[in-house]
Amino acid sequence: MSSAALATNDLPDLTRTEGRSLVEYGLVRAHIAAAGVALAISMTAGFLYSLQFLGWFPFADEYLSPGHLRLVHTNLAAYGWLVNGFTAMTYYVIPRLTGQRVWSAKIGWLIFWVWQFILVATVSGFLMNKAQAIEWGETPTGFRPGTFELNWIPVDLLVVIGAVLLIVQLMVPLYRARDQKFYVTLWYFTAGLVWLALTYLMGNVIPEWVLPGAAGAATTGLFIHDLVGLYVTPMGWGLMYFFVPLILQKPIWSHSLSVIGFWALAFFYPLGGVHHFLLSPIPDYVEFGAITTTIAIEVVVTTVVVNFFMTLKGKTSALRDSFAIRWFYVGAVMYFITCLQCSFQVTWTFQKIIHFTDWVVAHAHLIMFGTFTFWLFGTIDWLWPRVTKRKWYSRNLRAWHFWLSTMAIVIMFVDLTIAGLIAGFMQRELNPWNDILDASLPFWWVRTFSGAMMIAGLFCGLYNMYMTCRHGEPYDETESLIPLSAD
């Protein structure tokens, strides 16, 4: 058994020197709460934006315009929900796996407030037309284009400061544990934190200040891709490798498959960046490289998914007994579907038809909501009683949250995929744009309907979390041992 596993087996004694706990529970709670609020606002914005497609958009002013709400939707989903959520989880997981505390609780609170300030400055910046023209990096630079005159809070700069602090904060325990053989989760977290810093800098600096036009597009393509593939994905898998064995009380099925999965992700994933702008003025040989590696990733994904399903073997009753496991494995199925889809839609054959259509939007929601959001919901489901020391207020609400979310994403995905195919073929057949809009309209109704379900599910979850804090019965289970290592 590796020393990492030993470190975690110290668990029952979470109080270390000076009577302070190994995990900063306050920070975990705060980041989870902030993540929940951000997701609620993000989804509301997405919902309102979807009303524009039905001609029902409720506002007519310059600030709460549909375009602004779209920016709020995607950026809060990424920087508000996912980043806060993953940060909460790393605060919990890293100290437990390394046996080391994070750098400083005070810095932790500083980071927390800087980050929430960033979100407020970003959202208000969007409402004031200050977005930056970089997809998924629309957080305002704060500078007038091409100059160094400030015209808004320089959010990008704050993000760099916040991210650097956060990375140091979490790297300290990792570095202190450098003599240990790391458990898989920590491979993903170590590399993922480095990638986050490099990706953010690359994506926000190069297209804005260094490379215009087509070369800049290669950069923003890489940025969109790396943010998902080199931050969100490693964080997500890191959590799965931690929580699945913990909850199932058995080690991951194959250590070698974990190794392959990790290194292949590290190597192949970033090479696929240009696939966001295929059939574009970016040189063809770069596109071919991106297409080939994207297809290669599917092989990697299969190894990881197989590893997790083999781990579940013999313990399938957990799908019934544990909500967390349910969220995780449904999320893993959707992960597999999304990635399988990737390896087809990345080819020029598919691109011709589906690029620019709702197909891509379906794909984006399947991975962002169906997988990563599901995984975070799963971890929150398991963790919330443990960080609040209260039992879940209502089991029914947990079930409603799960089923509404699952049905919503399945409906949304199928609906938008079909809509994308129809619109794609109609575009190719040179149908008038008006007709394409008419053909899409019914699908947009269903999208809004599924969005409403998704929101309803979320509010079941958030209400349940709130009531758990207020009225949940006390909960103090000694945390169980973790058979994490397979060797």
């Binding site: 524009q52 497609f53 001609g55 007519a60 315009s65 375009g67 602004h68 779209r70 004031m128 977005a131 930056q132 023209a133 997809e135 284009p145 091409g146 990792l174 544990a177 450098r178 003599d179 240990q180 053989k181 790391f182 491979w187 170590t190 590399a191 490099l198 990706t199 297209p207 490379l211 215009p212 036009g213 070369a215 800049g216 597009a217 290669a218 923003t220 890489l222 790396d226 590290a266 190597f267 970033p270 090479l271 960046g273 240009v274 702008f277 059939l279 574009s280 003025p281 770069v286 490289g289 011709k352 038809i353 620019f356 259509t357 891509v360 939007v361 040179l430 744009w433 008006n434 309209l441």
Partner: protein, 202 residues
């Protein structure tokens, strides 16, 4: 393999760097081998005001004078920049793409397929290619419609195209439809798109 330094330097820094070189530095370097990729500054782009810009001055003399003074290359540059800023700020680029592909009959619908050198200029830093087409591609939009059409369309897209889902931008115009500074700018910018077509090709 499973220790901090390997993970940090090889996986973290190393793998990132390989991709950075192959999918970014390399294309950036080779793009220049195929085309004349001379960068065009804002002064160069705005040297000669477009006739659509001049027409705006003729049709709305008072409002135009209040917004921009006279129509010359300096005010044209201002209008283009503000127009682009609005296009970015209102997220038009999340509903409209700005590149024409060589497939799916796009050349018939929108015009000549895009070339890299068209984008080598100040108004494409960062580029606005977009990844979604709720509305049509706009990279060849210059001259497709008249200024008047755009005024009417921005005021209320649905009045012009009944099934349109494009938002109204009436707040960029006075109640009688006269453009404000923002209204002039967005039309100027839209009427610029496509001007660089064919640039740098022999």
């Amino acid at each position: 393999m499973e220790r901090f330094p390997t993970l940090f330097f090889v996986a973290g820094v190393g793998c990132f760097a390989v991709a950075f070189l192959l999918s970014l530095v390399l294309p950036a370097m080779t793009l220049g081998n195929y085309h004349d990729m001379e960068y065009r500054t804002m002064e160069q782009l705005a040297a000669v005001p477009s006739h659509e810009f001049l027409e705006l001055e003729r049709v709305y003399p008072e409002a135009f004078e209040e917004a921009f003074g006279a129509a010359d290359s300096a005010s044209y540059a201002e209008a283009l920049q503000l127009g682009r800023d609005l296009y970015v700020g209102q997220a038009c680029w999340h509903c409209h793409s700005q590149y024409v592909r060589e497939v799916a009959n796009e050349a018939q619908r929108f015009g000549a397929p895009s070339r890299a050198q068209e984008y080598q200029n100040a108004l494409n830093q960062p580029h606005l290619w977009g990844t979604r087409r709720v509305g049509p591609d706009l990279s060849r939009e210059k001259g497709v419609h008249t200024n008047d059409w755009h005024v009417a369309h921005f005021l209320s897209p649905k009045n012009i195209v009944p099934s349109s889902v494009m938002p109204s931008y009436a707040y960029w115009f006075e109640a009688d439809g006269t453009p404000k500074r923002d209204g002039f700018s967005i039309i100027t910018y839209i009427q610029w798109l496509g001007t660089e077509e064919g640039r740098g090709e022999e």
